[in-house]
Assembly symmetry: C2
Homo-oligomer: 197 residues x 2
């Protein structure tokens, strides 16, 4: 009865929902199956075991890397590059699907070694590299004060990461995020005033 070819995707989606709320151990195979509308044994037609579902979710987390094209060109615009970066970051922070994946990541990051590996090496490192590359160019152009670009990139991104965590925490309980939502742009202003010469 392969009526729906997307049963596998529905399983992943249901698992993301449940893990984002109760963690990996709180998302039982039966609960996932119930959410999809099938019995638990049917899950094993699509995944060899429960951990296999988690692996799929992990790869989905890192499937949308924070890539940017024409960095050299955009970096020369200085502040507007940082603004563009922060706004993209903000959009991701408020995207429903990405928000859930972020929660899954934050919960499992401290419990799963494979996820930590991927996060530190693939994901985080790349974000820093893109940013430091841009900052290096800005320094060469004389727009930004001279410093270690890698360190400066971390200084810039740490605030974004922090705001994203706060937004995530507030939205779980449906609390207003209006005050902190503006911080993404305010951070760019503050940071640019800090580094521009």
């Amino acid at each position: 009865m392969p009526k729906l070819r997307n049963t596998k995707e529905k399983i992943i989606e249901a698992a993301i929902d449940l893990i984002a709320e109760n963690g990996y151990k709180g998302a039982s195979v039966r609960k996932i199956a119930a959410k999809v509308g099938i019995r638990e044994s049917a899950i094993y037609n699509h995944f060899k075991n429960k951990e296999d579902i988690l692996k799929s979710i992990f790869s989905e987390i890192f499937s949308t890397p924070f890539e940017m094209k024409d960095i050299e060109e955009k970096a020369k615009k200085g502040k507007s590059f940082l603004h563009q970066y922060a706004v993209a970051y903000k959009l991701v922070s408020f995207d429903k699907k990405m928000e859930k994946l972020f929660r899954v990541m934050m919960i499992e990051l401290f419990q799963n070694e494979d996820l930590r590996e991927s996060f530190l090496k693939e994901f985080h490192q790349k974000e820093i590299q893109v940013l430091s590359k841009a900052l290096f160019i800005m320094m060469q152009e004389g727009m930004v004060r001279s410093a270690d670009p890698m360190f400066m990139a971390q200084e810039f991104i740490s605030a974004l990461f922090y705001i994203r965590i706060m937004v995530s925490l507030l939205r779980i309980d449906s609390k207003p995020t209006a005050p902190i939502a503006t911080h993404f742009e305010k951070h760019v202003d503050f940071f640019w005033e800090s580094i521009s010469v």
Copy 2:
């Protein structure tokens, strides 16, 4: 057989260890009891149920608030105040016990509403207030450029928080933290150069 009056504390300690590694749901009453060296039923002589243990751990997390005395006086020293704050933050980040509690917090923050409440209202808010108070004084003294002290405090603390997370992630897998450990102090230098007039 009340040989050891600190059985209750041993239970909490064992629970912290296990939750820091596998989360609340991954720390079963049996595993906690085994780690203490007693049977699972003995746990219930000290705690009414499993959640009661978690509550105790939560209150321990927030029992060491980031308080500071004589803020007015210390704030007038400008950079050295921020340095002092960052070093204290660094010490806490590398303290074995505090490190475990931090992991417990990060894991459960996204799964437990009560913890979120305490974190946002009691803990985090107070940290920001202390810092913004000091920054406000620095502004009055003409040491720091004029801006919203609350926002500036968040800008300062976000980097510390971020470094602490990275340190925590690295240390779980016994990876070297030497490179990032210096960031605490480097952040103070960078930040002071950003805000001092």
